[in-house]
């Protein structure tokens, strides 16, 4: 794979990244609209993918859109929204066949961008805003989703932990929106939110696959004509990261109960270290030693040695100052599990883990970065990470840094870990 050149701005708000690679039978395009996450609009933002997917002026129904996608040789289309740290991102992704593998096809790339332009900038609208029925349907869908998400106990416990731990921080805003906001959303208000998104978002376009960079850039400039002119509200690099890190004032424990057989234990730690800090790579390795693989401290003790859990692990949020330990255990094993977790965190901080786990973890982390670069999704994600974090730190730079990490580096980085909030969802009668 040839390494991408730095992005070129076609307009001052449209950054184009062409990532050439001959490894794939398809070409992937991703458009990313990035703004700060906002409690006031998060629920509306959740409706946009479905509303845009429902129809455009030229393709007014979902089946008309599908017919067009089929005619584009079975191209796939995905719209989704996500939150990374402080940022909300609407992504539109298309993947289409490399013309080499199909018969009688030559304007596919141009037609794909034409389709994207139609989908994003010519949605089906009425006099007052988006199509009324579509908005009503999407509202209903979101309402059902939010109700049903309570049935996934592990993600519920994860969300409750962040609610309690990150009070007042942007990452405590629920990425999937809020039930109580849904009723007041109108087709007019939603349309205004969409217009506002186009005008204020930073827009990045990624094209990855076996394509000609010059032709592709020209094509985007000519065909993606609907991109509005930029304004000075648009985010520059690094907007996803918190501006300051928090200390723990007083650790707290929250217990809830529900009709479940397996209890969920989630523990949040403050790291006092963010992506751009020199210690971050050491913290990443430390978190992985603690609970990132089957040879990790938590897996080998909580699961293998004490048979307390089927799953247990630690996750470091790349875009904040938090690390979360999670596991599913029998309700009666709470004290024992917490005790073992504390012991293992202490071993991590003291640096008394084995050489073996240190070397294994480094090798795995390096391997996983190299592997990510073998896939289209990984190539685009690592490139976008640079924008979200505002660094030029490439995956290759990080791989070099991982190689040089020592036990002392990990000790220094993880000694800053502080337990903040413990959330325990247990079975009724056990609380």
């Amino acid at each position: 794979m040839s390494m991408p050149k730095s992005a070129e701005a076609i307009k001052n708000n449209l950054h184009v990244h062409v990532l050439e690679s001959k490894n794939f039978k398809t070409v992937t395009v991703e458009l990313k609209f990035q703004t700060l996450v906002d409690r006031a609009t998060i629920t509306e933002r959740n409706l946009l993918p479905g509303v845009l997917r429902a129809g455009t002026k030229r393709f007014p129904t979902a089946s008309a859109i599908q017919d067009e996608l089929d005619d584009l040789y079975g191209a796939s289309l995905q719209l989704y929204q996500s939150v990374s740290g402080n940022c909300h991102i609407l992504t539109v992704q298309m993947e289409y066949a490399n013309e080499r593998f199909i018969e009688n096809e030559n304007n596919l790339e141009e037609n794909i961008f034409g389709f994207l332009n139609e989908l994003l900038f010519n949605p089906k609208i009425s006099q007052v805003g988006f199509d009324k029925n579509t908005v009503a349907q999407e509202k209903e869908k979101l309402r059902k989703n939010l109700k049903a998400s309570k049935d996934d106990k592990s993600s519920y416990a994860g969300e409750r932990l962040i609610d309690e731990m990150a009070i007042g921080e942007l990452d405590s805003i629920h990425p999937s929106g809020y039930l109580e906001d849904i009723d007041k959303i109108s087709e007019t208000g939603l349309y205004a939110t969409y217009k506002n998104l186009l005008e204020t978002a930073r827009i990045d376009v990624f094209v990855a696959g076996d394509v000609n960079p010059e032709e592709t850039k020209e094509l985007i400039g000519a065909v993606l004509s609907g991109v509005p002119d930029g304004s000075d509200k648009r985010l520059s690099g690094g907007a996803a990261l918190p501006s300051d890190v928090k200390l723990v004032e007083k650790p707290k424990t929250i217990r809830e109960s529900d009709e479940i057989q397996q209890a969920k234990l989630h523990i949040g730690y403050r790291t006092q270290t963010i992506f751009t800090d020199a210690d971050f790579e050491a913290l990443m390795i430390g978190s992985m030693i603690l609970g990132g693989h089957a040879g990790s401290l938590l897996f080998t003790t909580v699961r293998e040695q004490h048979s307390l859990a089927y799953y247990v692990g630690a996750d470091l949020d790349l875009y904040s100052d938090k690390m979360i330990i999670f596991c599913g255990i029998a309700p009666k094993d709470y004290e024992k599990t917490v005790e073992i977790i504390d012991e293992q965190v202490a071993i991590l901080k003291a640096g008394t883990f084995s050489d073996e786990v240190l070397e294994d973890t480094k090798a795995m982390m390096i391997g996983s970065y190299q592997q990510a670069l073998d896939g289209i999704a990984g190539i685009i994600a690592t490139e976008y990470q640079k924008i979200l974090t505002g660094t030029l730190k490439s995956p290759q730079d990080m791989i070099e840094k991982f190689k040089s990490i020592t036990r002392e580096d990990i000790q220094r980085a993880t000694s800053k870990l502080e337990r903040d909030t413990t959330f325990f969802l247990t079975s009724k009668g056990e609380e």
Binding site: K25, D70, A97, I102, E140, A148, G328, T361, Q370
Partner: protein, 427 residues
């Protein structure tokens, strides 16, 4: 080593059957940095009865045996195999489904060492009463975790309702009882038959030297002794054509009811060619009518009978086939009725050439996306070869399908007596 050149899709595959019976498939891709290796036995949760080579009596093993063995092969008493892969900088894992158990790794570098480790740990079981007993707690926790997930429960309920006797009706994990009563002897009985090289395939895809890799695999196998055995016989009970139960209602702690319709596709063993064609046509049909843009999906959405949890899935295999369509729904009964009506209308649907051509294009696009992944390609090669099909010729197979094939399939696809409705209601 036989070289298969699939020029239209830009893939070259090398295959060889070793003297001990092991099938090897190599799919080199030198432009990548990673390598994926997978070692699969044609033995899954639905293989519960067989007549070993040279014997006449059928042997039965408890449900959950394949999955239990999968867990135990990683355990070497004083250490865990995961950590050995870790030392090589790779990730290893395994899965068991109804028809196969697979062990796999992904690595960058040390490709040959990883393949050797994969072969060695699977071919050298360490089973003692102690290690077998130790696993009971872990697998029971795994069982409990799935038991709390409504999506899992309803999937299992459908399988149970569809099949009266075929072991695919059982949960791959087994029951809490079968897990807690598992013995070393039972695991070894299964191991001896199903983990013999004649019943296994090794596939490696990614960045490695083909000659060196094949040489290393050959020498690794030459050093090992396996009893010389011939074929064993799998025993399946005579399964009835119609469903076992036409409906099942469960109660769980859910906020919205869940409904899933099951279609029992066929019973008995079906020939490769039919299997390949049925798999394509079933998936194409489901995609056409029930994907987000499909007419049937749209109808259900407009009637507000479904939400975004709507799902369909299909498993088409040698001795069993089933399809599931379902969703969370405030009106599970109306939803079931509506989907049944839609499915039944298909035998007389008015379908045109243009629709089918579009559908074929869609299916080809999807196949190309899937073939971007070396993991999919290794797994797909094994699955298809074990069933007499050619994975990298999926696109030509799609191109050859005709509108008449589709119409013929739809004419007999649905039959009331092969449908079941499972529902989960709030407690």
């Amino acid at each position: 080593m036989e070289k298969l050149n699939f020029t239209t899709i830009d893939e070259v595959v090398y295959t060889e059957q070793l003297p001990n019976g092991l099938n090897v498939i190599l799919i080199p891709k030198k432009t990548l940095s990673k390598t994926f290796g997978i070692f699969t036995t044609d033995f899954g949760g639905a293989d519960l009865e067989f007549i070993p080579y040279n014997e006449t009596e059928a042997v039965q093993i408890p449900s959950g045996t394949a999955h239990y063995l999968e867990h135990k092969l990683f355990d070497k008493g004083d250490h865990d195999v995961y950590t050995e892969f870790g030392k090589l900088g790779s990730d290893a894992n395994a899965y068991t489904n109804d028809s196969e158990t697979s062990y796999y790794f992904t690595t960058v570098g040390n490709e040959i060492e990883n393949v050797e480790l994969l072969l060695n740990f699977v071919q050298d079981p360490y089973l003692t009463d102690d290690t077998v007993n130790k696993e009971k707690g872990i697998i029971s926790q795994e069982y409990q975790m799935y038991a709390d997930i409504p999506e899992q429960r309803i999937y299992l309920a459908v399988q149970e309702s569809l099949f009266a006797k075929h072991p695919v009706r059982h949960e791959v994990l087994g029951t809490l009882d079968s897990i807690n009563n598992m013995t070393k002897e039972q695991l070894l009985t299964a191991y001896e038959t199903f983990y013999h090289p004649t019943n296994m395939t090794l596939a490696v895809s990614g960045n490695f030297d083909t000659e060196e890799m094949m040489t290393a695999i050959r020498s690794n196998q030459e050093l090992k002794k396996f009893p010389e055995i011939g074929p064993f016989t799998r025993v399946y009970p005579n399964e009835q054509k119609e469903v076992h139960e036409s409906q099942q209602i469960l109660h769980m702690n859910v906020s919205v009811p869940k409904m899933m319709i099951g279609i029992k596709e066929y019973v008995g063993e079906i020939p490769s060619k039919e299997l390949g064609m049925r798999k394509l046509l079933t998936n194409m049909t489901l995609d056409y009518f029930y994907s987000r843009s499909g007419t049937f999906y749209q109808e259900l959405a407009e009637l507000e009978l479904i939400d975004s949890s709507f799902i369909y899935t299909s498993v088409i295999d040698k001795t069993f086939g089933f399809t599931m369509i379902g969703s969370n729904s405030a009106h599970p009964e109306l939803l079931a009725e509506q989907i049944k009506k839609q499915l039944k209308s298909l035998s007389s649907a008015d379908l045109e050439e243009q629709q089918f051509e579009r559908l074929k294009k869609r299916s080809i696009g999807k196949t190309l996306r899937r073939m971007n992944s070396i993991e999919n390609n290794a797994q797909g090669m094994i699955w298809n070869r074990n069933r007499g099909l050619s994975y990298f010729e999926t696109i030509p197979a799609i191109q050859q399908l005709t509108l008449d094939d589709w119409k013929t399939f739809l004419l007999s696809w649905i039959d009331e007596e092969r449908l079941t409705v499972c529902t989960i209601m709030p407690e």
